[in-house]
């Protein structure tokens, strides 16, 4: 594969990743790269290996093949897909946010203020709503001053209006921290607009690129249905499409008839 050296803005770069669980191949030949200041979004149907890929990149799972290069001293903030915080462990929001770190209370308050829930600092973490909990976890990620934030379905359990707010918050956090963001999402309509790069995954990389390119890719249309193209911002229902800069570009012939 290409072996260009890891440049200063590149945070993590993997190529040729593959993994099987038993006889079932879950991922094969996956390339991915996240740089500082960009939002890379993984989309794909259930079981397409999105979370598995994230876990490999984070070192939670070991890939069978492929290489991963991380920037030296890369600090990662991770927001996992499932967080079964039961009432078993008594834990205030402040403790949850400061977990595995040495943050002072003022820093915790500040991080919670950034995600808009500083008033909940002494609440029992198990009593939070879905959106509040995700905000608490985002605050926790911020507190770690990450170079790279990995968000696996960050808006799950959040109502529709809350989703858009949460995505906006993620964008703001990225701008403020200047970090890179790798996000897994189902919300095509919101993701396509907010991402710098979209990777459409279905056990392999079906297509990847800027949102408008991916949205018109036949593989993408095949996976999500022709109407999914409408989710992408700036796309028209015509024989042409605008790229990010607004230039008209042609749609390929195989493109569905949505």
């Amino acid at each position: 594969m290409d072996t260009e050296p890891i440049t200063t803005s590149v945070l993590i770069k993997a190529s040729g990743l593959g993994i099987s669980f038993g006889a079932r191949s879950v991922l094969s030949n996956v390339d991915i790269c996240v740089s500082r200041g960009e939002i890379v979004t993984l989309i794909g149907p259930n079981g397409s290996g999105k979370s598995t890929l994230v876990k490999i990149l984070l070192g939670i799972l070991q890939a069978d093949c492929g290489t991963i290069e991380r920037r030296k001293g890369l600090r990662v903030g991770y927001l996992p897909q499932n967080f079964p915080l039961s009432g078993r462990i008594p834990l205030s929001v402040a403790r949850l946010v400061a977990l595995n770190g040495t943050a002072r209370r003022e820093a915790v308050v500040e991080a919670l203020a950034e995600t808009g829930i500083s008033h909940l600092i002494d609440t029992d973490a198990g009593a939070l709503s879905g959106g509040e909990f995700q905000r608490a976890m985002l605050a926790r990620a911020i507190l770690r001053k990450p170079d790279l934030m990995v968000l696996d379905e960050p808006v799950q359990g959040v109502d529709f209006a809350g989703e858009a707010r949460l995505y906006r918050l993620i964008q703001e956090i990225k701008n403020r921290l200047g970090c890179g963001i790798l996000m897994v999402s189902h919300d095509l309509h919101l993701v396509m607009g907010g991402s710098d790069k979209v990777i459409c995954l279905n056990r392999h990389v079906c297509c990847a690129g800027v949102p408008v390119e991916v949205a018109k890719h036949p593989e993408y249309v095949r996976l999500f249905g022709p109407e999914a193209r409408n989710f992408a911002v700036y796309t028209h229902h015509h024989d042409h499409i605008h790229d990010d800069a607004g230039h008209i570009i042609r749609v390929s012939e195989e493109d569905g008839d949505g």
Partner: protein, 267 residues
């Protein structure tokens, strides 16, 4: 005070000190059945100790360590669920332990003492074991507290942040096995897990933070131990069951009180 009563009190205190914090992790991580399995294996350890004419506690530690190791290795496969494995091992070990105890000729094995505890038979050597293991458990859980907590709250998140989750799990299993190996003298093989989980469960009702829960578990354990031991002494009851019964009554009282408070709040 008679020596054997002093020894019994000291033994109880030593066990409660480490059982509190350790019991919290067992409750949080749902390891109660693991505790039972290790405890059941202890009987085979007793037989081994008697057979090889070595310190019984050492025999128990060896066998419980082997069972722990087996569980770690077997836990890596996906065909049989962990609780099935634990169920198989728990009862198999108890069966083999009872057979071994029956086969031991020439030595009279006080089976009831091992199964339900014989606190008045605590020796000076037993006390050394109890305090050595207790000190070890407290030191290790104290030192690794934050990491244990992180690994308990979210395994994968902890892994992503560089916490050695697998190693910590093994450490916790070993500490549990060691605690059970030394504490079984007091309440017995069949009741020992109760010493770990009931004080922690009681503490959960009132605790607002993990540290509070660990501290309250020690307090609850100590109260239950003293109450049960005292009650057994006065009413001439077997001490082990009396201690567990007292712990249970405390838990139920706490639970009831919580329920009434919650109901009161909600109206």
């Amino acid at each position: 005070m008679d020596n054997f009563i002093l020894y019994a009190l000291l033994a109880g205190l030593g066990i409660v000190l480490s059982a509190g914090p350790l019991g919290c992790f067992i409750v949080w991580r749902q390891m109660a059945f693991f505790g039972d399995t290790v405890a059941h294996a202890a009987l085979l350890g007793v037989a081994l100790g008697l057979l090889l004419d070595m310190d019984v506690t050492l025999g128990v530690i060896i066998i419980t360590a082997l069972v722990t190791l087996a569980l770690i290795v077997l836990g890596n496969q996906r065909l049989i669920a962990t609780d099935t494995l634990l169920g198989i091992l728990a009862h198999a070990m108890l069966a083999f332990g009872l057979i071994a105890a029956a086969l031991l000729t020439g030595v009279r094995v006080d089976l009831m003492g091992y199964l339900f505890g014989d606190i008045l038979a605590i020796s000076r050597t037993d006390l050394y074991w109890i305090y050595a293991i207790s000190a070890l458990v407290l030191a290790v859980t104290g030192f690794l507290w934050k990491r244990f907590l992180m690994a308990t709250i979210h395994e994968e998140l902890a892994m992503a942040e560089g916490v050695p989750v697998r190693d910590l799990k093994i450490v916790l299993m070993i500490l549990t096995a060691l605690t059970i190996a030394t504490a079984m003298k007091v309440v017995g093989i069949l009741l020992i897990t109760a010493m770990l989980i009931i004080p922690a469960a009681t503490a959960r009702l009132f605790a607002r933070s993990p540290e509070q829960m660990a501290a309250l578990a020690i307090v609850a354990g100590l109260a239950g131990f003293l109450g049960g031991f005292g009650g057994a002494f006065v009413l001439d009851l077997p001490a082990g069951p009396a201690i567990v019964a007292t712990l249970t009554l405390m838990f139920l009282t706490g639970f009831g009180a919580m329920g009434i408070l919650q109901g009161y709040k909600n109206t």
